[in-house]
């Protein structure tokens, strides 16, 4: 497996505020598709609130807590936030 460093200049393609999900992901949370350069689209939770986001917004990724694992540990992943 090869490793690549991704260009983190993302554009928000679509998003939603989730109110019904498996219990290890406490609701509500925002999730969305972020388009990165070179034809890559990532699904990730947001690090900001629903009302702060718009389709087409410039975003980037930071680490953030997204819920719990099946075993009950804290689960961290990349979350998207607005970028200047």
């Amino acid at each position: 497996m090869l490793q690549f460093e991704l260009d983190m200049k993302g554009v928000l393609y679509s998003f939603t505020e989730v109110h019904a999900a498996p219990s290890r992901f406490p609701t509500p949370f925002v999730i969305g598709y972020v388009d990165l350069p070179d034809d890559l689209r990532l699904l990730a939770q947001a690090g900001v609130k629903y009302d702060e986001l718009l389709i087409g917004q410039a975003v980037t990724f930071v680490p953030g807590r997204i819920g719990r694992s099946r075993g009950g540990d804290e689960l961290y992943s990349y979350v998207f936030v607005p970028r200047e």
């Binding site: 939603t16 019904a20 999900a21 498996p22 034809d39 699904l43």
Partner: protein
Amino acid sequence: MAHVVEIAGAGMVSFGQFPERSVEDMGASAVLAALSDAELGRAEIREVFCGSSFSGSLVGQRILRELGMTGLPITNVENACSSGGTAVREAVAAIVSERVDTALVIGVDKLTRFGGGTIPLEETDLEAGQGMPMPALYAMRAQRYMNETGATLEHLARVVVKAHLNGIHNPNAQFRNPVSIDQVLASRPISKPLTLFMCCPTGDGAAALVLRRRRGKGRAVVIRASTLQSGFSHSGYRDLGWSELVNRTASLAYEEAALGPSSIDVAEVHDAFAIAELMYYEALGFCERGDGPRLFESGETLVTGRIPVNPGGGLLCRGHPVGATGVAQICESVWQLRGVAGPNQVQNPRTALTQVTGGGISGFDHGACTVHILGIE
């Protein structure tokens, strides 16, 4: 395909929340109803196909044991929401290949076993691992679609109102109550902008069909097309506002049946979420891309319109016990073509189309889609 396969019988149980009914019990009731409709005895069935997504191992065998129909070739089929449709396609192929003359198809699922909440997605799936439940995918489609076509939340609400008006007259529907636009918009959010009433309910149910090699020239409902496709997997920019998979599957069905969308007199469309109905109008060719809201506003998809869609209330009101839906859509289409659909009878339909589209897995439009085209001769 020559019109080799006829639908000799159709039967289903009401869909709803039935904690006291087992998968075996519902399946057996549906089978007996279909056999009775076909005026055939159990011994006439030579092969069975059973579509189900969440009912465990050997569903067909467990159902047929209730009826003493054991020892037959039984194929259990799983393809998410397209399980029932895929089971029908397998039965059609078995008859067309002359392996068998008369086959039974069952579709069944019991979603109340999960005790409510969203359908569980595969834990190893990358997007499920980020917390994505199924309604979120449709909600994001809705956001894009509204962004691109000018469709509004009110359009979505009116789709639900139409479904409920149709569901009132469907004795097998889970919901038979009218709702207002305000009630739809005010129901609790599931995944913004989708509210509870914009989502099909969880429930239980079963449906069955008896398929037979066409013989003689008597009046019969025949299968003109039976197509199945899977979604393409993308890691990149796929178009969420357009259902490529449904369009591809439907195009193959029209080609197989040698007719176009304008020949369809009544359609059962996979309205698991209100947004899906508008998108699938376009993907099925009932209107141009982007014109879904306009087609809806024209009234042409009402029971009295040019292309009635979901005259029995669709998934939104009939319900969506996943494996049963594809088979139930065909049952309701059979009754429409025969002219026995009751108050929601479409005037003189000759050709019907049914479409189910299933599954949420990362990077796919959806996992599977089946489209059937039926005719009456």
